[in-house]
């Protein structure tokens, strides 16, 4: 795309963050694949193995999240997810029009503000809306055997819980599709993915300042 402006390399994604992202990505994909098999959409591993793998992945992701939440707060990275209205419309306009005309990206990524306003909003929605739906229904689903003891069976049916869990899965599927596509919208098609692998991204150097690898 536009290479007129000088580029500089910045260190955006720290090692733990990259590990978290890719591990989470793999787990989410495994859970989608096994989840829809459990749902009955197709026959791949067989129901029993699909359930085992789905459950194992769920616990692994929960453990990963436990570390990640700790990491977010100790590093202050959680602030990256605070939503902002600034440039939100500009971002939407860019994806709808500017991206085709070669207009400059309206958002300038820095190590302290690595997510554009649309990303922040999307990730927050994932965290605050889709996650509770999936994890709430998923854990209820998993611990179905204990409903009687907890008195939950008077209020819940497996059908309701399964339906909500499936709805969450479809939301996650739509997110994954959009998310994977949007990785191609960097200054080159694979720039974002490369950044998520190496940690380093190239941004326009319109306000030169020293960039050092944060410790």
């Amino acid at each position: 795309m536009s290479h007129a402006t000088p580029m500089k390399r910045i260190y955006v994604f720290k090692r733990y963050e990259r590990f978290w992202h890719w591990a989470q990505a793999a787990l989410v994909i495994v859970m989608l694949v096994t989840g829809f098999e459990i749902h009955g959409s197709y026959n791949n591993l067989g129901f029993e193995r699909a359930v085992d793998l789905h459950t194992l992945s769920a616990w692994t992701l929960l453990a990963l999240w436990a570390f990640t939440i700790f990491w977010q707060f100790t590093t202050g990275e959680w602030r990256q997810y605070i939503p902002t209205a600034s440039k939100l419309v500009a971002m939407a306009r860019y994806y709808l029009f500017g991206i085709f005309t070669g207009a400059p990206h309206p958002y300038h990524k820095t190590a302290l503000k690595k997510h554009n306003p649309l990303q922040r909003l999307a990730y927050l929605a994932l965290l605050a809306l889709v996650s509770p739906i999936i994890w709430g229904s998923g854990l209820l689903y998993l611990f179905y055997a204990y409903w009687g003891g907890l008195g939950l069976d008077r209020w819940l049916s497996l059908e309701q819980v399964a339906t909500v869990h499936t709805a969450g899965a479809f939301m996650m599927l739509v997110f994954v599709i959009a998310h994977v596509y949007l990785t191609t919208t960097g200054h080159t098609v694979f720039a974002h993915i490369k950044a998520m692998i190496t940690g380093w991204d190239e941004v326009e150097d319109d306000a030169p300042r020293a960039t050092t690898k944060p410790r």
Partner: protein, 536 residues
């Protein structure tokens, strides 16, 4: 007709010999008797005995209460008033879809009565000397041939009379001196052979259990636990626990402790295993144990019945019976496996081995269509109905054998009919192939009114599947039910992941995913096109 009778007699003699042979061939546990008495040292049993009753009189000298105990049980009375339904049941009067009914056929059928001499309705049920101790306590060589009203044969006898065929006598003293605890082949001598042959009725009970492998039945495995029937069907004062006439369909309790006093049925799986028997990994979160809230143990642990190499009858069409050869003789047809698929005496059959059971909700309550019940001949008549509402807390999903019959009924009175078939004589169907005579004689014996007009009606009979418990590795896999069109297709009252899903949510969800995919694809194409234009 006389020639036919001779052939029948030959077939019968073979049948008897086979049955007796089974009893002899059956394996003993091999273990030494645990009894504190050696019956061969008892003077009372020195013999010789000229009848079964003489043996019983000797038994009762020491076992003073045994006959009184037996006479309280269904094994003796063949009668049972079901307290739950009020129906008067029991083999004495019930109709089934196999040999149909006992009445008028007693001298033949009562080979499986634990008494001596029940040949008609005048049998004295209060005579304790007529109790047959040996039927259940012999350790081999005992036989009660068909046609002798439950009596063993002590003098060489011609049967049927005038046929020139003889039944050889047995030595009752020798048998009496060797008595012991009940073994599998004692129970099996009748319970395997119900319906006229090995494995015919139940599907989960046949002579293969006498020498069961681990694969066939984990409890009866001859090289393993080697259970006798009475290890589960525990008896108390000769009353044996467990019956298909009224069943224990649910038992949501932990295992009984040895010696624990309980009203629970000791024959139920849960009596030993408890209702949450699966040791599961933390990952499984008690998933299998939760299944016991809706499934009977048998549903997963008996993946198929008739697994021991003996086939079971799945269908029996009496309306085809009576076809004769050009010479007027009865005949048999066999399939490639040697199973009789047609017999002039009985009609046509369908056999099954390794049969996948059908499944249905069952709360233990069974009602029967009895002789005086009005039937609807326009539909398949249920000989018995297993009750239980889908999802009800007192019901579980049970495996059953669904047997299809076609049998005679009174077309005017709309009642099932009992034919006289097996006792040599002018009216018996097996000897004269004359339905009107056979049905009139049957009706006379039952006392039921009969219009004289008969036809054949489709019937169905259910059998609970509860024996032939497979090793746990061979239990029914998750996917056999958690799938479209699986074993539990059509079973209501449970949400079954993999089988059940919200159709509208699926449509909406896949539509959303498709829309997202389409959206990004169009976006990508637009990007490529505008990019190429700029390059120009």
């Amino acid at each position: 007709m006389h020639k036919i009778a001779r052939r029948m007699a030959a077939a019968l003699a073979l049948c008897v010999a086979t049955t007796a042979g089974m009893a002899i061939a059956a394996t003993d546990t091999g273990a030494k008797s645990r009894s504190t008495a050696d019956h061969s040292k008892f003077e009372e049993l020195a013999g010789p005995f000229d009848s079964g009753e003489a043996v019983t009189r000797a038994c009762l000298k020491c076992h003073t209460e045994a006959s009184h105990q037996i006479m309280q049980t269904r094994h003796w009375t063949w009668e049972y008033a079901n307290p739950a339904t009020g129906q008067r049941l029991g083999k004495k009067t019930m109709v089934n879809a196999f040999c149909i009914g006992d009445q008028s056929n007693e001298p033949f059928c009562q080979s499986c009565h634990i008494g001596y001499g029940w040949k008609d309705k005048h049998f004295d049920f209060s005579d304790g000397n007529k109790v047959d101790c040996l039927a259940c306590h012999n350790t081999g060589e005992y036989a009660k041939p068909f046609g002798f009203a439950g009596n063993p044969v002590t003098v060489r006898s011609e049967y049927p009379p005038g046929s020139g065929k003889f039944v050889e006598p047995i030595d009752l003293a020798k048998i009496a001196q060797a008595v012991g605890r009940t073994r599998r082949d004692n129970c099996g001598a009748c319970h395997y052979y119900g319906g006229g042959g090995d494995g015919v009725k139940h599907g989960d009970l046949d002579s293969s259990l006498n020498t069961a492998t681990h694969e066939l039945d984990v409890h009866m495995n001859k090289d393993g636990l080697n259970f006798s029937c009475s290890d589960c069907h525990v008896s108390d004062q000769h009353a044996v626990a467990g019956s298909r006439i009224s069943m224990t369909a649910t038992d949501p309790h932990p295992a009984l402790l040895r010696g624990e006093k309980s009203e629970r049925n000791p024959a139920a799986c849960q009596a030993c295993h408890g209702d949450k028997p699966h040791k599961e990994s933390l990952l499984a979160a008690e998933r299998l144990n939760a299944h016991t809230d809706s499934l009977a143990c048998q549903s997963c642990h008996i993946p198929a019945f008739a697994r021991g190499g003996v086939s079971t009858k799945m269908a029996w069409d009496w309306s085809q019976a009576g076809q004769l050869t050009a010479e007027g003789k009865p005949f048999q047809k066999k399939d490639d496996h040697g199973h009789v698929i047609y017999d002039s005496k009985k009609g046509s059959f369908v056999h099954g081995q390794n049969v996948t059971p059908a499944y249905q909700w069952f709360n233990g309550e069974v009602t029967y269509t009895l002789q005086d019940d009005t039937i609807d001949p326009t539909t398949r008549v249920p000989i018995n109905v297993f009750h239980g509402a889908p999802g009800a807390p007192n019901a579980r999903i049970w495996p059953v054998k669904v047997f299809h019959g076609r049998q005679p009924y009174d077309t005017e009175r709309k009642t099932l009919l009992v034919p006289n078939v097996a006792v040599p004589g002018d009216t018996a169907f097996w000897y004269n192939f004359d339905w009107p005579k056979a049905l009139a004689a049957g009706a006379e014996a039952t006392g039921a009114p009969y219009s004289g007009k008969y036809g054949f009606v489709d019937t169905q009979m259910l059998w609970p599947i509860t024996h032939m418990v497979a090793p746990k590795e061979k239990a029914v896999g998750c996917q056999e039910c958690h799938a479209d069109g699986g074993r539990l297709a059509g079973i209501e009252g449970v949400y079954l992941p993999g089988r059940d899903r919200s159709v509208w949510l699926d449509r909406l969800g896949w539509l959303a995913a498709l829309a997202a995919l389409l959206g990004v694809t169009l976006h990508a194409i637009a990007r490529v096109i505008t990019h190429l234009r700029k390059e120009d």
